[in-house]
């Protein structure tokens, strides 16, 4: 089921990722992230169907009216880059193919349902914590922010706590 399984050494990948992160710090004074972009994309979509609601909303309204709109944001362009980089990396490693990754005991429907539910939970959590693992844990952890380290340990805590209950999905 798994195709080309040649991945980079985790230590090498970690150092390289750290270099990308450091470069971003030094050149832009900004880190990485993903959930912020998801938030703006959602708000932009909501604006298409309910513009009046968005205009009046204390959270989404400023995103629309400040700067040049929803997409005028560092993270939106960064996530665009993530998609492109991921696609090129996957393609050049022979891993670019449509499919579903799941454990041996799970059905595709269950897997996709879990993906949706988990995604929603993460969307809520990332807004609450002002970031996700890329933004808060990785970026904030690297600048030694206390909140980020607390967040990071809580993420691992939550994952390990829940692992037993969803083992049917993965093992």
């Amino acid at each position: 089921m798994d195709r080309s399984d040649r991945f980079w050494n985790p230590y090498v990948a970690g150092v390289l990722l750290g270099c990308v992160l450091l470069g971003s710090f030094l050149v832009m004074g900004k880190g990485l992230g993903a959930s912020g972009a998801a938030n703006r994309l959602g708000a932009a979509g909501l604006d298409v169907v309910a513009p009046a609601h968005v205009d009046a909303h204390p959270v989404f309204g400023p995103q629309k009216h400040e700067g040049r709109g929803f997409f005028d944001d560092w993270l939106v362009f960064e996530v665009l880059g993530v998609f492109l980089g991921g696609a090129v990396a996957a393609y050049s490693a022979g891993r670019l193919r449509v499919g579903v990754i799941k454990g041996p005991r799970a059905s595709t429907a269950a897997r996709l349902a879990a993906a949706l539910v988990g995604g929603v939970l993460m969307g809520v959590a990332a807004r609450m914590a002002r970031g996700c693992t890329s933004g808060q844990a990785l970026t904030g952890g690297a600048v030694m922010s206390v909140g980020s380290w607390v967040f990071m340990m809580a993420v691992f805590g939550g994952g390990y706590a829940m692992a037993h209950f969803v083992r049917r999905l993965w093992t």
Partner: protein
């Protein structure tokens, strides 16, 4: 369409006029795409019909479809829709729009004939037997036309090649005709839109099952086209940056101004550099082609036209 000539560029004094919406970029994109398809199908029209893939042989049929969709968009933009007839009552050599109107008239039969030339004898017979055509007694004439076209495949290819180039250049010159807009007052736009049309057409063709050899050929040509496009974009910006005051302001839109991020991220990185990398990897590592590359090229081509039309009206 109301045309208003402005000979000033003071944003403080002149009203902000956005005359053109989505219709014009769509028209320019589909026009360039059709031009490229005509050129590519002409270049690839070699060998006996039975040797080439069916998708490639029938591809010229896409030209009338794409072009009609584009012209529908253009039609929707016209304020006085019935005036479109006037285009076909005269020919003014100095007007690119007049050229365009008559080129479009010539494109339809040329493309259809090239498609007919791509039909094998068996396919022509099967098509002739199709009920609606048989009822209208068009079956036999169709077969004769197909045979006639098949015999003159070379000449038809040349005709399509010429008309395709003319169409591609016309889409670029169309903007340049409105010289008051500094962003469009560059002679490089014509070749740029032509090459962009070529590249997007190659991407379009790659979406279909056209056979491995032709796909590889298209990929090689596309790599070259992307390289030329990058050079032309550089020339375009250089030309603007070294021009007069309004031209320099136009160049600033893409070099630090309001359209910088969208232009470089969507047109250059997403539409040109990443597909170039993907195609290079595809060639060197002999990978199976992916639909991601053509999708990105098509998106980038559309973004190029959208951004140029929008930027041109913003100053």
């Amino acid at each position: 369409m109301h045309e208003i000539d402005l000979f000033r560029h003071s944003a403080a004094i002149d009203p902000h006029l956005t005359i053109w919406g989505w219709e014009i970029p769509v028209y320019l994109f589909l026009g360039g795409l059709s031009a490229g398809v005509m050129i590519l199908t002409a270049l690839l029209a070699r060998g006996e019909p039975s040797e080439r893939s069916r998708a490639l042989r029938w591809m010229p049929l896409a030209v009338p479809v794409l072009l009609s969709a584009g012209m529908l968009a253009l039609f929707l933009d016209l304020a006085f829709k019935l005036h479109v007839l006037r285009f076909y009552l005269a020919f003014r050599p100095a007007s690119p729009m007049s050229w365009g109107a008559w080129i479009l008239v010539a494109v339809y039969p040329a493309a259809l004939l090239l498609a007919a030339a791509g039909l094998t004898a068996g396919e022509a017979r099967a098509l002739a037997g199709w009920r609606p055509l048989a009822v209208l007694r068009l079956g036999a004439p169709l077969e004769r036309v197909a045979a006639w076209a098949r015999a003159r495949r070379g000449a038809l290819s040349s005709l399509n090649l010429g008309l395709g180039v003319a169409l591609g250049v016309y889409t670029g010159i169309l903007l340049g005709a409105l010289g008051a807009r500094a962003v469009w007052s560059s002679a490089v736009l014509g070749p740029l839109f032509l090459v962009s049309g070529f590249s997007t057409a190659a991407a379009f063709l790659m979406l279909f099952p056209i056979g491995h050899a032709d796909h590889a050929r298209l990929r090689r040509w596309d790599v070259g086209a992307i390289g030329v496009e990058l050079a032309l974009i550089a020339l375009y910006l250089l030309g603007l940056a070294t021009g007069g005051e309004s031209a320099r302001q136009a160049a600033q839109l893409f070099l630090g101004g309001g359209y910088t991020a969208a232009f470089w991220a969507l047109v250059v990185i997403l539409g040109l550099l990443v597909p170039l990398a993907l195609e290079a990897v595809e060639a060197t590592r002999r990978l199976r082609p992916t639909l991601v590359t053509p999708a990105l090229i098509l998106a980038g081509g559309f973004a190029l036209r959208w951004i140029l039309v929008s930027a041109g009206q913003s100053m």
